[in-house]
């Protein structure tokens, strides 16, 4: 599976290969463009334009995002981690995203295509994206959204023991949702006349999301894929349940890889219901192994291509995502 998504023309072009001379009138224009940003944002932008040093980029990007966030939400950006979500946490809609992009383009003197923006969901996504563009690196693989039928097709675990309704997987994290329907067989006995989702099952759900990450998002070696038959639970640490979850609750699950070294993959995980913490897992560790790509079934990628491409069948050697985009 290729690490980088295929790009639109023009992306991945390093900028600036050599910084352009930064004239006083450029500084005046930059000051005008950034007049509603913090002074440190302006300073970082001046430094970047003078030196082309990409280390200034995160401060500029955060400064520009901050300028477009409602004042009462700006505090969230102060010590934001990269998981801070643009829409849900910062109230940034697609139009505001465009405003951010136009200002970033203006300040960094770069061009960003519309289709490159769709996959940016978190502050971390934006920082990584801009950084890759500046350094001329291939863009990270965009987050994939995986509907229930594809989860079922890919996962070794099956109903009635599958606890994911939908999921999204990127190369750095996986997120999922599960709605406690009340029809789960174990709720008849857990507890008597008092259905409560078992904490052990919630841990299982996080484990399942980690399995999906290994199958769909994890980096592999060339010509290899992770074999679904090789993934097993080995251990967990620091599990805490904070909230009783009942039928009707929608569990929002998230995992992030902490360490990946064959044959062990360690993740941190969390479950929320709305904004309330439900379960935190400091570490959950799975074993896994690779098999040769040719021997592995590949419904995983084929699932994302439209059933009928332009010419009917896709060339067998086409990188899956490119095939999907061309379809």
């Amino acid at each position: 599976m290729p690490e980088a998504a295929s790009h639109s023309p023009g992306t991945g072009k390093p900028f600036p290969s050599t910084p352009k001379a930064f004239a006083p009138e450029d500084e005046a224009a930059l000051r005008e463009s950034l007049k509603r940003c913090s002074p440190s944002t302006f300073e970082s932008a001046v430094q970047f334009r003078k030196t082309g040093n990409p280390e200034h980029v995160p401060a500029i990007v955060i400064g520009v995002i901050e300028r477009f966030v409602e004042p009462d939400l700006r505090v969230k950006l102060k010590d934001a981690d990269d998981d801070l979500r643009l829409i849900e946490d910062l109230g940034i809609d697609s139009l505001t995203m465009m405003e951010i992009v136009i200002l970033v383009e203006d300040v960094l003197q770069m061009s960003i295509n519309n289709d490159e923006l769709r996959n940016l969901r978190t502050v971390g996504d934006v920082k990584t994206f801009i950084d890759c563009k500046i350094r001329g690196l291939p863009l990270p693989r965009p987050t994939k959204f995986i509907p229930i039928e594809h989860i079922g097709a890919v996962m070794p675990v099956q109903p009635p023991f599958l606890f994911l309704n939908e999921a999204s997987v990127s190369s750095t994290a996986a997120n999922g949702k599960y709605r406690i329907s009340g029809q789960e067989f174990f709720l008849q006995g857990h507890f008597k006349d008092n259905p409560v989702m078992p904490a052990s099952i919630m841990l299982e759900a996080l484990g399942q999301l980690a399995v999906l990450y290994l199958l769909e998002g994890a980096p592999t070696e060339p010509g290899k894929v992770v074999s679904a038959q090789t993934i097993f639970f080995t251990g967990c640490e620091g599990v805490r349940a904070h909230r009783v979850c009942r039928p009707g609750d929608i569990l929002t699950l998230s995992i992030k890889p902490k360490r990946m070294k064959m044959p062990l993959a360690t993740f941190e995980g969390a479950i929320r219901v709305g904004q309330e913490k439900a379960v935190i897992v400091e570490e959950i560790t799975l074993t896994y192994a690779f098999v040769d790509a040719v021997n592995a079934p590949v419904p995983i990628n084929g699932a994302y291509a439209a059933p009928e491409g332009e010419n009917g069948a896709m060339p067998a050697d086409a990188p899956p995502l490119r095939a999907a985009i061309n379809a």
Binding site: R36, F68, E70, G91, D93, L95, T96, M98, E99, I102, E105, D106, S111
Partner: protein, 420 residues
């Protein structure tokens, strides 16, 4: 058929930014004109504008604008507004408070919003310049919704979470009168229980100055003499901007909420000149027909009308045309009835805003029991003789008021209001 009442008003106008101030200035005949700083240049022949006070919208960037601190507007809403959108938003907040509407009264499928403005030539020009200078991908994603005709309804419907009917009206200076008429129909027909009707204009250089090219603007340099409807010495209209919001409700809603309305709207009518793209019919035939239609639809005889708030803008042709229309409609009426005045002598001509603004003036005067006089009128143009044009405000209670509006293309609207 449902009866329709006006239950809330909001104003950002050259003669005041709240109903109390507006009412006082109407009664005392105090105008809102000033020498407009951007017009004080040798190559600009007209000098006077009905200015909006306490608002500054000179910058094309809404985040630079200043407005009274009692209005809190988030950047998210402000960024897509034209100046007329800001004025209207503030006026709508006043009207909502005035009508004592709760959030649930505003955002429901039975409550709609009709609006009229000429868009924002100012912002259209700004964004178009940016497009040409920096390329299309550096243009604000909100440039279009902030500037094209319709910007007013786009912004207000989204900001106030309107779920009922919504539409913009574009018949130039008859626009917001049309909006009132169709809003009335929607309530009468039971399609809606409540309607917001809004007229607004930027009132800045780009909105007003193009009319100088038509030679329709007054070139007077004295703010006290510039707007003189029906006067021999009138020489054109004075531009103005701002916003006015009227809230109209069905009888059932008025009863349910237990509020005291300003006035009842009885009906309306319209007719066209079919004559010229910009010049009024010399005999005022369309305007007369609109008044006849409005009175017939309202079940009102001409002699029952106490006051006509005229469209008269202080232009040479327009005022005469309307005077002739009024004489023909009221020729068999009781002598000296109705009283006729044009409040544009105080405010200037608000273009798309005019119909809503002057209807709101009319119902305000109905509730407060006075009839505004003709400010600045010294010598009545002989062509406008035969009308009762008092120079001073009449301290008496009118029963029925007729409001005229006319726009380009010879569109004429007449609206009828009754004391509630």
């Amino acid at each position: 058929m449902a009866r329709v009442f006006i239950t809330g008003l909001g104003f950002v106008t050259s003669i005041g930014n709240d109903a109390t101030t507006v009412s006082r200035h109407l009664r005392e005949l105090r105008h809102g004109f000033e020498l407009f700083p951007p017009f004080q240049k040798p190559d600009i022949p007209c000098k006077v504008v009905g200015t909006i006070k306490d608002f500054s919208t000179d910058s094309p960037d809404p985040e630079d604008w200043t407005f009274p601190s009692r209005y809190k507007i988030k950047r998210e809403l402000l960024r897509s507004m034209a100046p007329n959108g800001l004025f209207a938003h503030c006026a709508a907040l006043q009207a909502i408070e005035d009508a004592q509407l709760k959030e649930a009264d505003i955002s429901n499928p039975e409550t709609g919003l009709y609006a009229a403005s000429g868009g924002s030539p100012f912002l259209l020009h700004h964004h178009h310049q940016r497009l040409q200078k920096l390329g299309v991908m550096r243009c604000s994603p909100l440039g279009i919704v902030a500037s094209i005709v319709g910007t007013l309804n786009f912004n207000l419907v989204a900001a106030f979470k309107i779920l009922g009917a919504s539409c913009g009206f574009s018949s130039a200076c008859a626009s917001s009168a049309h909006a009132l008429g169709y809003a009335f129909d929607d309530i009468v027909l039971g399609r809606q229980q409540r309607m917001f009707v809004i007229g607004a204009e930027d009132g800045n250089v780009d909105a007003i100055l193009p009319f100088a090219g038509m030679r329709t603007l007054s070139l007077q340099t004295d703010p006290n003499l510039a707007s003189r409807p029906f006067d021999t010495a009138r020489d054109g209209f004075v531009g103005t901007g701002g916003a006015t919001v009227l809230i109209m409700e069905s009888e059932a809603e008025v009863a349910r909420r237990g509020v005291k309305p300003y006035a009842e709207m009885l009906g309306w009518g319209q007719a066209s000149d079919g004559y010229n793209v910009a010049i009024s019919h010399p005999e005022g035939s369309g305007s007369a027909a609109a008044m006849v239609h409005a009175l017939r639809a309202s079940g009102v005889r001409p002699e029952e009308v106490d006051y006509v708030n005229a469209h008269a803008t202080s232009t040479l042709i327009g005022d005469v045309s309307e005077a002739r229309a009024l004489r023909s409609v009221f020729r068999d009426s009781v002598p000296d009835r109705p009283v006729v005045s044009s409040t544009k002598a105080l405010t200037g001509h608000g273009l798309s805003l005019a119909g809503a603004m002057e209807s709101a003036f009319s119902v305000l005067a109905l509730r407060e029991g006075f009839i505004p006089g003709n400010a600045h009128l010294v010598n009545v143009d002989p062509e406008c003789q035969g009308l009762n044009l008092p120079r001073t405000t009449q301290e008496r209670q009118a029963g029925i008021v007729l409001k005229n509006s006319s726009g380009f293309g010879g569109a004429n609207v007449a609206l009828v209001f009754k004391r509630a």
